[in-house]
Amino acid sequence: MTSTVHIRPVRVRTVSVRAVGGLALGDFRDRVRRPAYVVILLAAVALGYFATPGVDAHWVIMQVGEYRGVYNSAYVGMVTALASALWLTLGGFYVVRNAIARDESTRVGLALAATPLRTPVYLAAKFLSNVMVLGSMVGALAVTALVMQLARGESTVVDPVALLSPFVLIAMPLVTATAGAALFFELVPGLRTGVGNIVWFFCWSVFALLGQSPKFPLGGIGVHAVVRSLVSEMEAQGLDLTSGDFSLGLTYLEDPLKTFVWNGFTPSADFVVSRLGLVGLAVVLALLPALWFGRFDPARTLRIWPGTPAPGDAPATEAAPASLVRLEHSPDYVADAPRLPRSAVVAGGSFARLLWGELRILVQGVRPWWWGGAVFIAATSTLAPATNITRVMLPVAWLWPVLIWSRLGTQRHEHGVSALLGAYPTARQRLIAEWLSGFALTAAVGIVPLLKMMSISDWAGVAAWTAGAVFIPSLALLLGSLSRTHRLFQAVYLPVWYGAVNGLPVLDFMGVIRVDGEPAGLPLAVVVGLAAVMVAAVFLADALGRRVRD
């Protein structure tokens, strides 16, 4: 039976600051119920594991000369907290980078924009949600630290305060600042796009390097006070301090480190104030955009990097409404039988156009300034001395398209075209064409360094170039296909590129590092093999995706 629905009148009142918690919790729940969150937590656990390597491991995250602390609660807590402070400020940024973008893409933002919700309240809720997501990662790391202390077995006495205080005093303020910065970047035109992801990577690099200095604003990472405590403890124990400096970050070890007992440090008032200052800075960063945030009004949307043309650019209007025009003159127009296409459909010769189409899709909407930059890099490469080609010009050329590569594997999902393409044949050909379009772009931006290497018969360099040109689109296509976001490739490629440029052989996929003129990075076969595995994984994931979709 048809029933009458009675709608009880609701008393609407202004949404107050108390709404922040509710909104943030809803947002947090939505995020943690996505499969990606499990991957994020697992990554945090893995980070905790790597922070406390076994006695025979050849890596370390934190050391003072030839020493590390015995794995008691204080040291395990501190090293894990510092590792999270270092890496969650990078990775975590990319994790929470879509707080506003999600509301935009799901159109929840439009619904919220029409409520009495005040903009600062909305931004505070988003900020809090970011903090909760990153805080849950810190929480996972704290639990991992406890497990690792017990697993390593160097000290089985658990001191909860010593274990947790580094997370509270060091990790949480830094991830809070990251949460605020992520929100700020989302709301600043020019930074809200992939450009912001690159900018953050370089900001983070500077912070990771200079943030260990006591002179860095707000105490930087906060590691200086810890180092002072470690050193004074070592001095008290009469240990040799001349064998090297303090190091924070992944370091390769020839020999295992010696150990000493460190029972933690008591933070000074200044230290606590500097941490609170970081939290304050985060709040300012998060709320400042309330001054210009357009509350999802497309007419107030600025677009610097290409994407969906903002409706504000030019209102969408119907095309010349031929039907309506004809309707005026011919009232029976709508009853007319439409004239069906009569041309014959002939199959064949479509792969080249498919590739052309994928290229168009890959570079769709790329702005003239980007092309100008690519031409400038190519021109500079032409003039650069041969010695700088692999060291400088090729890395620069292969950094420039990072935002375009990051589109590989994502666009058909991002724009909803997969709903159409699912019923099309040639799925594998499309993937091949997409990979080839990425390869073509990589080759095009790196063509001048290649020609230069050929001109001086640097055939080892040419081979490394070829491996790199195969590697980059493979990595992009894999990460894009798996994550369906641009951010994962950006977050992974930038550190790999940075490592290669800074002489880490294990990350050198393009022949930057030379010893006696020969590439000394990853062996060619490894780079090409990795690329092949990644492409195979893309095809496998696509096939599985089609099989288990829904």
Partner: protein, 295 residues
């Protein structure tokens, strides 16, 4: 030509969207009617080879298209309910890309795209980025892509959403013409979309086929069971709780109600000629009540 045999689709979480449905489609148009959540879109996606059924078979001219989807994809035109476009490509570029994905030759694609753009009234807008199109214009791009390969099977899911009234009529006429020598499956929850063009109507609810037949047959089934009556406003709730009400119009002298009932609901009720909306509501009512519907 296209046949579903005992097709079931159970999603993760246990939601049974399609429940043992069998359907045989030949040349002509079948209008698939059902409320939101009835399983229409799942069924359409299965027939369009986008989604694999949990069990059952889908045959196209004898070929199992679950195992060999390309047999159908080459001759299929599919317009899903929701789809997107590449916002910075023009309509012509987008259609050209899709034509390549269909495996259509360049010359053939060019001619076909010109004709299709004319057909959907987008020739003038063909050079504008799709991101600047309105919803109705994008829908027309979707229609054009569905017809790219001169399909022998056309599956359209809620195709008229977002079209203005003139375009809706025009699209219905187009489908009607296409159905002369093709299989056309049109899914909608808007009864008027199918009643004027579909000679064959299938009504689905809760994942099952509840009724199928020509409009005449379906109307005949409830002949003499549709009534109109004038009811005082105060009695409207009582009538609604006892009968299926297909329409209500408030008038100065009371509320004119159209109800479905095997017997006159009130002594002065007047029997009226049923229409497809009455049939549709009757079927939904019976299926939600768990009544066996195969009559």
């Amino acid at each position: 030509m296209l046949e579903l045999i005992e097709v079931t689709k159970v999603y993760r979480g246990g939601k049974r969207a399609v429940d043992g449905m069998s359907l045989r489609l030949g040349t002509g148009m079948v209008g698939l009617l059902g409320p939101n959540g009835a399983g229409k879109s799942s069924l359409m996606r299965i027939m369009a080879t986008v989604t694999r059924p949990t069990s059952g078979r889908v045959l196209f001219e004898g070929t199992d298209v679950v195992a060999r989807p390309n047999a159908l994809r080459r001759v299929l035109g599919y317009l899903p309910q929701d789809f997107g476009v590449y916002p910075n490509l023009t309509a012509r570029e987008f259609l050209s890309y899709l034509a390549a994905a269909k495996g259509i030759s360049a010359r053939s694609a060019r001619a076909r795209i010109d004709e299709l753009l004319t057909l959907v009234n987008l020739t003038e807008a063909a050079k504008r980025p799709l991101g600047k199109y309105s919803g109705g214009m994008l829908r027309r791009v979707g229609i054009a892509q569905a017809l790219l390969a001169d399909p022998r099977v056309i599956i359209v899911d809620e195709p008229t959403a977002g079209l203005d009234p003139e375009e809706r009529v025009r699209f219905r006429n187009l489908l009607s013409e296409l159905a002369a020598d093709r299989v056309v499956l049109l899914s909608t929850h808007i009864v008027s979309d199918v009643e004027s063009v579909a000679a064959d109507i299938a009504i689905v609810a809760q994942g099952r086929l509840r009724r199928r037949g020509t409009p005449e047959d379906l109307l005949r089934e409830i002949d003499g069971q549709v009534w109109e009556m004038l009811v005082p406003s105060a009695h409207v709730n009582a009538v609604q709780s006892r009968f299926v009400v297909s329409r209500m119009v408030r008038t100065p002298s009371g509320v004119r109600m159209r109800v479905l009932s095997a017997v006159p609901p009130v002594p002065d009720a007047v029997p009226v000629t049923p229409d497809l909306e009455d049939v549709y509501l009757d079927v939904l009512q019976r299926s939600s009540a768990g009544t066996a519907v195969a009559r």
